[in-house]
């Protein structure tokens, strides 16, 4: 008599099972939704971090060339920076020389190197003279970079669209991603009357 009682006690009635399944389903659904949200958040955060890293890299590339710039031309997502022709054909540094006006040049007087930054097909490139353009950031179709020439300094601003909200980033959210940088132009400019320091 005792054994059958124990056997019944170990099982579940239908309504018990249904309640348990309902609770389990609800918890599972919550967990799955939470997991999906967490994953989306992780993806958005990873995307933000990756984009921010890209923005920092683009900023550093631009700063590298702006510091030694002789002249600057820029529009949105396009910047042309002229720098001294420091290297010879073999890639070694050249000895500086002075022209008749006391201006410094490398190689031959008037020799320059043109660096072109541009966004094309979701990739930002850096091209030096006629050499093949080098990728400096990929999958950045939502990036906007601007170089503003202020004479003795130049500022750069880079923004992208964060993906935290599926309906799209607001203007404020995009503005919040901006990476700003101000660079002192060390060289005497050939396109303005401003000079060093």
């Amino acid at each position: 008599m005792i054994v059958p009682t124990r056997t019944r006690a170990g099982g579940f009635l239908l309504y018990e099972t249904m309640i348990a399944m309902t609770i389990f389903s609800a918890i599972s659904m919550g967990l799955i939704m939470g997991f999906i949200s967490l994953e989306r958040s992780l993806m958005a955060t990873t995307n933000f971090a990756t984009n921010h890293t890209d923005a920092m890299r683009i900023t550093d590339y631009l700063a590298l060339d702006l510091r030694r710039a002789l002249s600057i031309e820029s529009t949105e997502n396009d910047a042309t920076i002229v720098i001294p022709s420091y290297y010879d054909g073999a890639g070694g540094p050249q000895t500086p020389q002075l022209d008749s006006n006391g201006d410094v040049f490398y190689g031959t007087s008037g020799a320059q190197v043109t660096i072109h930054y541009f966004l094309l097909n979701s990739t930002i490139y850096r091209q030096q003279d006629a050499a093949p353009p080098a990728r400096i950031a990929e999958n950045v179709s939502d990036f906007i970079f601007n170089v503003t020439d202020l004479g003795k300094v130049a500022t750069t601003k880079i923004t992208f669209k964060p993906t935290y909200v599926s309906s799209g980033a607001s203007v404020a959210a995009i503005e919040g991603t901006a990476v700003y940088n101000t660079v002192l132009l060390r060289n005497s400019r050939i396109d303005t009357s401003s000079s060093v320091y």
Binding site: R57, Y87, I136
Partner: protein, 480 residues
């Protein structure tokens, strides 16, 4: 039965526990991998930026030594460096600077300064200097490259083996570090870079004074080497290390600069008004001439001192205890009759004065440089500079350890055409002849102008005079 059931439950719990821990561990590992990688990237980027600051500090260290070398001896320039750069000699300095950031890792600055023959200005003969620096910062953490090759192409780091070896710098090792190399070219600057520079107060007094510039070397900026209003230039810069310029409704064709100060009475400024100006008023030392023309030792009446066709000739170097003219006395600085260039240098260890109807006269072609320790009071007929070239008459106030106030009062009935560099003297420019026009440049401890209606700065002065500063004119980063 119970025992068997318990064994099954225990096994299931263990399995689930291991599974959950495994999943969590994988999750944590991935998160750590992502986070530590980005942290490492951030750390490396910071070290890379810091190494640029180190390299730029190297340029500053070299420029400081160069500026120190401009001071009268002993100036302690280039102490603890290998050599004094110049004439092909390379100087080398190595400095380690404690760094509070980045785990207190010290930054290393290595500097080379030389003076290549290619960097001699053909127009002035002045030597430019090349400063090459290496700034390096140790990298903390594991020697690991970044996720993306683009980062590695930009920030070139030494992680296990020294990435870049040249024959110039020796401080780099195989240990993980970031390094940046810079090359700056530094040009000497004349003591006459501005139309007016005052260490302290600058008072132009006169209403509507016009300050502009011309270039006596350039036919497009002058006529027959003389000022031409129709060819007026806009390099009539006025500046003070002080906080106040009283311009008296001036019209400035150039920039106006103060040291966090204000400018009053400026009606028109064609350039910019800066408030971040400071320039070291580098003193002029007593001339260290090994030999001089011993006679005369003083001038107290009409006299003639002869210039020489050879610059720096012993025969045209005079050391006078005093130079005093009065009545109708005349001091003539005589050159060649044909007006060919001749040079004369005079050091007056006492005062210079010209009163009554006395005057000083430069002969044709004479380039005079007059150093003075005491006061200068020039009135009477003033100084006659017939070619009206300010570069032909340069006055330098010599440094004194005395705290006694000294002054320069430059005036007289004649046209004032001269350049004055006296950063320890209070300088007053009076008149400027009947027209009130003054040609040249004025530097003083304080500067005031009385009766001057026009000051025309000759840009040719910037290519002469003594060197009293250095300026970076070219800057390149070696990105190999």
């Amino acid at each position: 039965m119970k025992t068997n059931l318990r064994r099954q439950e225990n096994g299931s719990a263990l399995l689930w526990t291991v599974l959950v821990i495994t999943v969590l561990s994988l999750f944590a590992t991935e998160v750590l991998r992502l986070v530590s990688g980005r942290f490492q990237l951030g750390l490396q980027a910071a070290a890379w930026q810091e190494s640029l600051m180190a390299a730029e500090s190297g340029i500053d260290l070299a420029v400081v030594e160069m500026r120190k070398s401009l001071y009268p001896a002993p100036n302690h320039a280039w102490e603890d460096w290998e050599n004094i750069p110049g004439n092909g000699v390379v100087s080398h300095g190595l400095t380690t600077i404690p760094n509070a950031g980045l785990a207190s890792t010290p930054m290393t600055i290595e500097v080379n300064v030389d003076a290549p023959a290619q960097l001699i200005d053909p127009s002035t003969g002045w030597q430019y200097y090349r400063i090459r620096t290496l700034g390096s910062m140790p990298l903390t953490g594991p020697p690991r490259i970044g996720f993306k090759k683009e980062d590695n192409h930009l920030r070139k780091l030494t992680l296990r083996v020294q990435r870049f070896i040249d024959n110039l710098f020796t401080s780099e090792t195989n240990s993980p570090h970031a390094s940046r190399r810079l090359e700056a070219i530094v040009a000497p600057l004349s003591s006459f870079e501005q139309a007016v520079f005052s260490v302290g107060a600058l008072n132009l007094n006169n209403q509507n004074i016009v300050i502009d510039s011309y270039d006596s070397r350039d036919a497009a900026k002058s006529t027959n080497g003389l000022y031409d209003e129709s060819k007026r230039q806009e390099h009539g810069l006025i500046a003070t290390n002080g906080a106040l310029i009283q311009a008296g409704n001036a019209h400035i064709y150039g920039d106006v600069s103060t040291n966090s100060g204000t400018v009053t009475g400026v009606a028109n400024v064609t350039g910019v008004q800066r408030t971040d100006f400071y320039q070291d008023p580098i003193p002029v030392g007593e001339p260290q001439w090994l030999s001089i023309n011993p006679t005369p030792s003083q001038v107290n009446g009409t006299a003639t001192l002869n210039a020489s066709p050879t610059k720096g000739s012993i025969m045209s170097r005079y050391r006078l205890s005093t130079l005093s003219l009065s009545g109708t006395q005349t001091l003539t600085l005589a050159g060649n009759a044909d007006g060919s260039p001749t040079y004369i240098e005079i050091y007056v260890s006492g005062d210079i004065s010209a009163a009554g109807n006395s005057q000083m006269v430069l002969g044709p072609g004479v380039r005079a440089t007059i150093y003075f320790m005491g006061n200068v009071d020039i009135a009477g007929k003033g100084v006659m500079n017939p070619a009206n070239q300010p570069a032909n008459l340069l006055f330098y106030g010599v440094h004194s350890d005395s705290s006694l106030a000294r002054h320069v009062n430059l005036g007289g009935n004649g046209q004032i055409s001269a350049a004055v560099y006296a950063p320890e003297h209070d300088v007053v420019v009076n008149g400027g002849g009947s027209s009130g026009h003054v040609f040249g440049s004025v530097v003083g401890k304080s500067v005031a102008m009385t009766g001057v209606t026009n000051l025309h700065y000759d840009e040719a002065l910037a290519a002469g005079g003594i060197i009293n500063n250095y300026k970076i004119v070219s800057w390149v980063e070696d990105t190999r």
